[in-house]
């Protein structure tokens, strides 16, 4: 019994780490840049496929390809914000209109990225094996790659938090999140900071994708599921709250693991029920202001 509980809890935490990472990215994009990026999952997919390509074609260690994958996806996100979203921001009559327009533009991006990926890699399922040997934790057995993934997800999350809290750019990002206009008056180059935020959001999605590709098989249409999960997590943690997303990720991972143990088919239903109940009872999320 104790081993079963341990089993379920650890499985939940392992999945929660990834959820936390991808949700932080989405949270950053919505919280600072005010873009509800429906295409978030597509960047996860891109990260996963770049890692797969590097491993399958060039034989590069997936953990090393995190270093390659991250910057590429950061630049894509940065440039997207500089061109498309900055243009929308200028042309939208009100902040609310910008939120609507940018969400729909992101929806268009979803199709573009997903179908470009299908053209490049084909629509089939891809997978590789890396660090798949079993590890025993107090009686519960897991593949080593899951533990490595959790470790990296935690490290990236903590590093990002320190970056936000301690560095000058992090301060500028927090200022932009609170009040973009005043931050601009105080000498923050607001468009650049927003673009960096969006880029960091896609970066985290890409890294999440790289880590995901180590554990499960991937395909070009995998993105939307993760977008939805990230959305649920940021609603649990409070829209725009970075620590909230981090904690929310683990909560969702645990809930998923518990429900999967009781009734495997109902995990997604449980996610949505939790999410809709929370929206109705406490729409600001657990750590929301």
């Amino acid at each position: 019994m104790l081993v079963t509980i341990l089993d379920v809890v650890i499985a939940g935490l392992l999945m929660g780490g990834i959820y936390a990472l991808i949700a932080m990215g989405l949270s950053l994009q919505y919280g600072v840049a005010r873009i509800l990026n429906i295409a978030h999952g597509e960047f996860i997919m891109l990260g996963a496929f770049i890692t797969w390509t590097l491993f399958a074609v060039f034989g590069i260690n997936p953990l090393v390809s995190l270093i390659v994958c991250g910057p590429i996806i950061f630049i894509i996100g940065f440039l997207l914000h500089r061109s498309l979203f900055t243009y929308l921001k200028i042309s939208s009559p009100s902040p609310a209109a910008f939120e609507g327009n940018s969400m729909l533009a992101a929806f268009g991006l979803l199709f573009i990225i997903q179908n470009v990926a299908i053209l490049i890699w084909g629509a089939g399922i891809k997978s590789y094996t890396y660090l798949a040997f079993p590890v025993n934790i107090g009686g519960a057995v897991f593949a080593a790659n899951r533990l490595v993934t959790l470790g990296f997800a935690l490290a990236i999350g903590v590093a990002f938090y320190i970056f936000l809290a301690r560095t000058r750019l992090g301060k500028a990002i927090r200022a932009a999140a609170q009040d973009p206009n005043t931050a601009g008056l105080m000498g923050v180059n607001i468009n650049r900071v927003l673009a960096i935020c969006f880029g960091l959001g896609t970066l985290m999605a890409g890294l999440g994708g790289s880590l995901i590709s180590m554990m499960i098989s991937i395909q070009p249409t995998m993105g939307l599921e993760y977008t939805v999960i990230a959305l649920i997590v940021i609603v649990i943690g409070g829209l725009g709250s970075i620590p909230g997303s981090f904690i929310g990720g683990f909560i969702l991972g645990l809930v998923g693991s518990i429900v999967t143990y009781i009734e495997p088919g109902l995990a997604m239903v449980a996610y949505y029920l939790l999410f809709m109940l929370l929206l109705l009872v406490r729409p600001k999320g657990i750590l929301g202001k």
């Binding site: 919505y30 509800l36 498309l84 243009y87 929308l88 042309s91 939208s92 609310a96 939120e99 609507g100 327009n101 969400m103 729909l104 533009a105 929806f107 268009g108 991006l109 979803l110 199709f111 573009i112 997903q114 179908n115 470009v116 299908i118 053209l119 629509a123 939307l224 939805v228 959305l231 649920i232 609603v235 829209l239 009734e263 088919g265 109902l266 997604m268 239903v269 949505y272 029920l273 999410f275 809709m276 929206l279 109705l280 729409p283």
Partner: protein
């Protein structure tokens, strides 16, 4: 000379609409079966886009629940098909969606902006996953066979739903009710203070728009013969009406009609011609590019563009008159 003024006349417009209606009603007698099938699809998307715009256009609440209401209609048809005549099934499908929308509307009263959009999107996914689980674990069968109806019947059913939804949208726009909706979109608190029953207006309109989506779902299901939860609750159908309405422009009633017709024809063209060359996948890519381009270059939709050109034409002809007199 005075062609602009002539076209603007009300009687001309009514005559034109009547003519279009006559053409549509008689179309199955002299066109091919292909036209009837294609026209039914166009009607489907027009009704989805127009009924989406009935609620979301004036209020600014972005609803992503269209697929849920559409899917409820589909499932009504699948469960009752064959047992009851088609018009009754369509009515029940619409009513089921109406009730669901009413419930959702009451639940989500406090949610604004992006929260409403996320909640409604969640509704589609939860129905999809729950019914999938139910079919796999409780009934033990995934998917159902829907008794088919011939294409011409589907065409006329869609035509009737189309006309009724257009009339409903028109009268809502023209009525005090429509003004109340508009005021909610402009400023909800102010609307409440001036005596608009915000709750009632919002929930009723949401439910009315869902009625048409459910009715369309119940009708179109008969054409698909086989359905399962992933077909019935396809999230794409939540986004398509939004895209079509925005592309067409929501400033005028005909905006969503233009948007829906354009995209259905584009889809038809791309899937048939590109598939011949083995490039069927390109369809969704082009679709995404058009969507992004529309949001960037046509913020007020095709309607905005038409109005701009129309305004210029009008100014020019009135200027000519001025010069002549």
């Amino acid at each position: 000379m005075d062609i602009v003024r002539f076209i603007s006349k009300r009687s001309f417009l009514l005559g034109l609409l009547f003519l279009i209606l006559v053409v549509l009603v008689t179309a199955p007698f002299y066109t091919s079966g292909y036209f009837v099938v294609l026209a039914s699809s166009i009607f489907m998307y027009i009704v989805l886009a127009v009924s989406w715009a009935i609620f979301s256009g004036p209020t600014g609440y972005i609803s992503l629940a269209s697929a849920a209401f559409f899917g409820v209609g589909i499932y009504t048809s699948a469960l009752l098909g064959g047992a009851l005549p088609l018009p009754i099934i369509i009515g029940i499908g619409g009513l089921a969606s109406f009730c669901l929308a009413f419930l959702v509307g009451v639940l989500t009263l406090r949610l604004r902006g992006i929260y409403f959009a996320i909640f409604t999107f969640g509704l589609v996914e939860i129905l999809l996953h729950f019914i999938l689980w139910w079919e796999v674990n409780i009934t033990g069968t995934t998917g159902r066979v829907v008794p088919t109806v011939d294409n011409t019947t589907v065409y006329y059913a869609m035509l009737v739903i189309f006309v009724i939804s257009m009339l409903t949208a028109y009268f809502i726009r023209r009525s005090k009710f429509g003004l109340a909706l508009q005021s909610i979109g402009d400023n909800e608190e102010a609307a409440a203070h001036t005596g608009v029953n915000v709750t009632l207006v919002k929930v009723t309109t949401f439910a009315i728009s869902a009625f048409f989506m459910g009715a369309v779902g119940a009708t179109m299901a008969t054409r698909w013969t086989y359905i399962d939860p992933t077909i019935a609750f396809n999230p794409l159908l939540s986004f398509m009406p939004v895209l079509m309405a925005i592309f067409g422009g929501m400033g005028q009633l005909y905006g969503p009609v233009i948007g829906a017709s354009f995209f259905t024809l584009l889809k038809q063209y791309l899937t048939t011609t590109l598939a011949k060359q083995g490039l069927g996948e390109l369809y969704m890519l082009i679709f995404g590019i058009v969507l992004v381009a529309a949001i960037v270059f046509l913020p007020k939709g095709v309607v905005g563009l038409i109005q701009k050109w129309w305004g210029r034409l009008r100014k020019r002809t009135s200027g000519e008159q001025h010069a002549n007199s």
